[in-house]
């Protein structure tokens, strides 16, 4: 059996899964120390189900802790931002486009050195090792404990980042190092930003991972535990200690993957309807489709592997106006228990509409008895049109797909949707996040520019696939289970040799000591 835990800003959810079966599930408040909240959730699910701690094979944790730390500018380390690429890149120094307050918290310790590579792997300049020694001395003098190293075209060849790490480690024993090629992809400033954000979390990551460890130990669980990252795959605790930034945005991913598992479907659209907004995303082979555009986190531009999610202003607390023709985007939010008509308030919300329509039994139905039938019909129509349009917009082809409804507001959608082949409303959808964490797999990726000229396309693709698969196995996947998830080829205009950027992603099942398949 495995346990999935979702540590959110407000709630800590936990589930015990046996295969696909939900054995126990609960929600409890997230605590300041993280650890006691997890302990409480674990006590509840273990207690309710009577499952022994020794019967647990693995624990998977999803957390928004690191994202929130950056957004709130709390508990962050000062960082040495070491860039290798001069004379290129000098025009835009590290942290140029950052929010001033965040750059201040991190100390603005920026260093730029000669080195880096061209797209084809030739050197821009040899690595300035003497300069790096000077930087190391300054890092020591300033007492900085964490550094981010970013070299131009390191996704093509990482040798300079690795060599720089070697030097810094030697000169500044115990320093935490974040290497950009381990974190991001082609797109220099975004990758550097991610490496710097990762570096500022170095302290917090050890503490949070420790609190996870102690909570599990406290409950007598000795099974290995893992933490989910933004693309829905797992990392070992040791990896998270080094690369906490990779957990950013794992929440939406877990929720979508959990929905897929609850509905037992791999290719589908997921609509997560909350109180104020609905998130719509697409699942392909059980994984969310990733966003292609830059994503801002805490005001910093990144190019993380993030699910492509469209948020629309429709939720259980959305205001209904114009006789039902206009819904949202504003919502009564957490005040729904006070403001909605069915709870004795004076605001017409979507929840009142579905109660009046007899689709849900919430609050006092008598209070919505005099809503005109025409308003109810129009509002239901508007709700379905909004969801349908969002679903259609997020699809990648005209083919109809199943739509999985999750979240507290799922009751809003009662009819079929023209863009959907079917509408599925699974049980336990309130803990989809924790279930998504529990079922996460292990992934490996390659993202590089290849010269295709004089080579067969299949040969190049095979090479990339083999490398992605090998990366998955290194990350902990069972060798035979690794599958290629996604291949993306983008021919680069104006470059010789038919240069093509190829991204391959592979995933496999986690190697576990237990017997569970």
């Amino acid at each position: 059996m495995r346990i999935g835990i979702d540590v959110g800003g407000t709630n800590t959810d936990a589930v015990i899964l046996e295969g696909d079966r939900v054995v126990a599930a609960c929600k409890s408040p997230t605590t300041e120390d993280v650890s006691s909240g997890i302990s409480a959730a674990l006590s509840t699910v273990l207690g309710e189900s009577g499952v022994a701690a020794s019967a647990i094979d693995a624990v998977m944790i999803g957390t928004t802790h690191f994202t929130n730390a950056v957004i709130e500018r709390r508990r962050l380390l000062q960082v040495a931002a070491v860039r290798i690429g001069l004379p290129a890149t000098r025009g835009v120094p590290p942290m140029t486009d950052w929010p001033g307050d965040l750059a201040d918290v991190l100390g603005r310790h920026c260093y730029m050195l000669r080195g880096g590579h061209e797209f084809d792997g030739r050197e821009i300049a040899p690595l300035d090792e003497a300069g790096l020694l000077d930087v190391a001395r300054e890092i020591k003098a300033k007492g900085l404990r964490s550094a981010a190293i970013t070299s131009v075209f390191s996704p093509v060849t990482a040798v300079m980042e690795l060599r720089a790490a070697e030097i810094l480690r030697e000169e500044c024993p115990g320093i935490a190092l974040s290497l950009s090629h381990e974190i991001g992809r082609v797109g220099f400033l975004e990758r550097e930003n991610a490496a710097i954000m990762n570096a500022c979390l170095a302290d917090l990551s050890t503490k949070v991972v420790d609190s996870f460890r102690s909570a599990l130990r406290h409950k007598g669980i000795s099974a290995p535990f893992f933490i989910s990252q933004n693309d829905g795959t797992l990392m070992t605790p040791e990896h998270v200690e080094s690369y906490p930034v990779l957990t950013f945005a794992s929440g939406p991913t877990n929720s979508m993957r959990g929905a897929a598992r609850l509905a037992a479907i791999g290719d589908a659209m997921v609509v997560d309807i909350g109180g104020t907004t609905s998130d719509v995303g697409m699942l392909m082979q059980g994984f969310p489709r990733e966003s292609a555009v830059a994503v801002d986190i805490g005001g910093v531009r990144t190019n993380f592997r993030m699910p492509d999610v469209l948020a629309i202003g429709l939720g259980g607390g959305s205001l209904v106006r114009d006789g039902g023709a206009r819904i949202g985007p504003d919502s009564v939010g957490y005040e729904i228990m006070k403001k909605a008509l069915v709870f004795g308030g004076d605001t017409l919300t979507t929840t009142d509409i579905v109660v009046a329509a007899g689709m849900a039994d919430i609050g006092d139905r008598a209070r919505v008895a005099n809503i005109p039938a025409e308003t109810i019909a129009t509002a239901l129509d508007t709700i379905h049109r909004m969801v349908d349009e969002a679903v259609d917009r997020m699809k990648t082809s005209a083919d109809k797909l199943p739509v999985i409804l999750v979240g507290g507001g799922a009751v809003l959608v009662s009819c079929d949707l023209p863009s959907a082949s079917e509408v599925i409303r699974p049980e336990n959808s309130g803990v989809a996040n924790a279930i998504g964490a529990a079922i996460a797999q292990v992934g490996g990726e390659v993202d590089r520019i290849y010269a295709m000229e004089g080579r067969a396309r299949d040969e190049v693709l095979d090479e990339a696939k083999a490398e992605a698969s090998a990366n998955a196995v290194v990350a902990g996947a069972i060798e035979g289970s690794v599958k290629i998830m996604d291949i993306e080829e983008v021919p680069l205009a104006y470059l010789p040799g038919s240069a093509t950027r190829i991204r391959v992603k592979a995933v496999g099942d986690l190697a576990m000591k237990g017997a569970e398949a």
Binding site: L86, A88, T89, R90, E118, F119, D392, R393, A499
Partner: protein, 360 residues
């Protein structure tokens, strides 16, 4: 004359993305470079063509190569300055004014960097009035200014000077050098005097980009108003006319290589019909058709805008399901003479469609 300050750059970048007509590279890094240069060296004097003296030594500048390279190998910011000094050393001339050669995309912002560094005025004009994929596709070339000498530099300080007798050959040779410089090179070319610049340039395109950005920003409140504001605005410029060619949802994106061009065909299905708009992309959006009807063709601008934000969507970011408006913008008269059409009309891209200016 007016001063370009840091606060002007965001609008210019937004407008330059529209003038990029799907290509030209993301202006984001150009904007950051320009911001850094103005912060270090002070504001840039922007002068109109009319303010140029006849004997002024004008040179145009920008970068060539794959926009993807810039995203990873961010420029040092000194490349154009090195190219300029190289040109001056060899020609023995002292340049007195800088002009962009391309108003759309990344190249809108790079000349601001050079103007800030040198303290020279930036001429409010360019040679493309939009984005084009090749160096010979310039009104300067159309109206007789030699493209060469082309002085080129990379961030490593490598320099090259291309001397040849046609703009097409200059493009061909410079392209080869650009590859050896790492897939991206900065250059100065099309040297001319002030009197010539007034005759051969597309006027006021830096201001145009900035105005587009301003109009979109000010009309942020309401999405219909935003597009209409943009269309109304173009009516007041020397471009003279813009129109909504159609709206719909991206329903298919097909990519292929054809005669050495990387070609994309984007289908956009209207909300009320089964007959899609089809946009052909060769670096930029070149022609939009519906059924057998050509709705707009190069050199007129074809811009795909997000239906909610009116933000220009570059071709590499087009995806199934996006709701878009297709905006057509007529080029100004200097860009649609028979001579101009020979250089950057439909034939220059291997298209058979006849050019019919929008709104005429």
């Amino acid at each position: 004359m007016r001063w370009l300050e840091v606060g002007d750059l965001e609008d210019i970048a937004v407008g330059a993305a529209v003038l990029g007509t799907g290509g030209g590279g993301d202006p984001y890094i150009g904007k950051l470079l320009a911001r850094g240069a103005i912060e270090a060296h002070g504001a840039v004097r922007l002068i109109s063509l009319d303010e140029l003296a006849d004997d002024e030594e004008v040179i145009t500048c920008g970068a060539m190569g794959a926009p993807t390279i810039v995203l990873e190998k961010v420029p040092s910011g000194d490349e154009m300055l090195m190219a300029l000094r190289h040109y001056e050393a060899i020609s023995g001339k002292a340049v007195t004014a800088i002009m962009p050669f391309e108003a759309g995309g990344l190249n809108s912002c790079l000349p601001i960097v050079l103007a800030a560094q040198t303290g020279l005025p930036l001429v409010d004009a360019d040679g493309m009035g939009r984005a084009f994929p090749q160096l010979e596709m310039e009104t300067f070339n159309v109206y007789g200014v030699p493209a060469a000498p082309v002085a080129m530099a990379d961030e490593k300080g490598n320099l090259a000077l291309v001397e040849t007798d046609s703009a097409a050959k200059a493009e061909f040779m410079a392209r080869g050098i650009c590859i050896r410089m790492g897939g991206q090179a900065s250059l100065v070319n099309y040297a001319m005097d002030g009197a010539t610049a007034r005759r051969v340039s597309v006027p006021a395109t830096v201001s145009l980009a900035q105005d587009i950005g301003r109009v979109l920003r000010q009309a942020r409140v309401d999405k219909t108003a935003r597009l209409n504001a943009l269309i109304d605005f173009f009516g007041t410029t020397h471009y003279g006319h813009a129109e909504l060619l159609g709206s719909g949802k991206v329903s298919d994106i097909e990519r292929k290589v054809e005669n050495g061009w990387s070609v994309g065909i984007v289908s956009i299905l209207p909300f009320d019909s089964d007959v899609p708009y089809r946009i052909r992309i060769q670096n930029e959006n070149l022609v939009v058709e519906r059924g057998a009807t050509v709705l707009a063709v190069v050199p007129d601008l074809i811009c795909v805008l997000d239906i909610d934000t009116a933000e220009a969507i570059p071709t590499e970011r087009l995806r199934y399901g996006q709701r878009v408006d297709i905006l057509g913008i007529r080029v100004p008269p200097i860009m649609r003479t028979p001579g101009a059409l020979m250089v950057f009309g439909p034939r220059a891209f291997g298209l058979t469609a006849e050019y019919v200016p929008l709104g005429i």
